[in-house]
Symmetry: D2
Subunit: 136 residues, 4 copies
């Protein structure tokens, strides 16, 4: 399952080093993840309405090349494996010239919204991922 | 009712102009407002648990002097009038030398969390404000 | 001079009230302003390279209707008058159903980057605005 | 070298899950790092004035327990080794009850501000760290 989304850097995302603050790549990652499941027909707000919240349990990110104001970046999310208790997503941020700005893995868990306890990945999301992996 | 809180500027709050991004003063204002009612014994999370959310309905802010990384700022919130349907709070941000960085008025409304409709300011908050105005 | 740009709400922009945090509309406004002058051929980074920074000196914003995760918002910026020392921009945020989420005026100043002192609006920006107003 | 700093969660840092958005722990980490070198007498703005910027080159973070509005968190930064080309800092976020909310390692690089090329850790920062490690 692969998805990418493209948008310009926002001015407030820069810092006094003159580049995008590192924490924002973590936020860019989230934009691509949510757009991916949105396009798959199961947006995050539906998932939460179905009683499952999807907290991030781990982030690993390498910052390779600064993104700057004026850049139009493309953020990717890809899933290689059907999730059980956890879902690992590989993510990248590239600028308009294709330079790799940041790359990392984000691990999501699944919580029953009512009890706060861990639960399995919602069936609809499992199906979405299974179908996309079949296509490969 | 007057309250102030002091904290250092955070690096990620700066932008490529080398100063605190203007949107962050709006956030600083919120910090002082919440610390004020927290100290008054009625923190925002209790208020929300009591079924009332307090959305911001209007902000007016003048940006006078840039705050910078390294500055330790003091943010004030003051209330002059017992609220009915709305609550107006006057707010300032000053740096460690007393220079006025930003100044403005924030108007809050009150919503019944269950219905989403406007409601009156919660009694406990009215009492807090009345008592503080009596002290003057 | 009128411009609008459309993008989805980002998850991290929501708060525990379940809606977009008010400070983010101020940031959305900036996105539309920068996209407008970018499209006009004079992006903010060129302007800064030309030695002029454009601080926000005043913001007035009314929050009318909450934007939520899942919304795709359209942010507008419009200029009615050729700027001298200051530039006033009227801005709106609407959701996909056309509901007005926020509306306000943002006033920009112009600073000589080297001296830090106020300066006039850069000629290229004045021309951009004059031409667009002629078209009306 | 060990440092910790304590501050309350800010309302705008929460998201619609009702907890602090994961990206903010990355920002909390930065607050503790900067406060540490500030207290050591070599604040980040001096470092930048000396011509060295300190980009984050890698972040690893595990999110263990949600921080919430109302929590007062303590963020730690610790350094175990004198840096050469890179500086690794171990960081934690705990709430007022001592629960570990997030834990991770942040790796910093050093760039010559003028050339943009990698450089060594500034001498003053090396000395700061050496002295603190001697004390152990």
């Amino acid at each position: 399952m692969y998805f990418e989304t493209t948008f310009p850097v926002r001015y407030y995302e820069t810092d006094q080093m003159g580049v995008v603050h590192h924490s924002n790549y973590i936020r860019y990652f989230e934009c691509a993840r949510n757009a991916m499941i949105d396009q798959g027909g199961y947006p995050i707000q539906d998932c939460e309405r179905d009683g499952v919240t999807i907290p991030v349990v781990e982030v690993e990110c390498k910052f390779k090349h600064p993104a700057r104001m004026g850049d139009v970046i493309t953020v990717s999310a890809s899933i290689d494996k059907v999730p059980m208790a956890k879902l690992v997503i590989h993510q990248t941020v590239r600028n308009q010239e294709g330079a790799l700005c940041a790359e990392g893995d984000v691990t999501l868990g699944f919580l029953n919204k009512a009890t706060g306890f861990p639960t399995r990945c919602p069936d609809r999301l499992v199906q979405l991922i299974e179908e996309s992996l079949k296509d490969k």
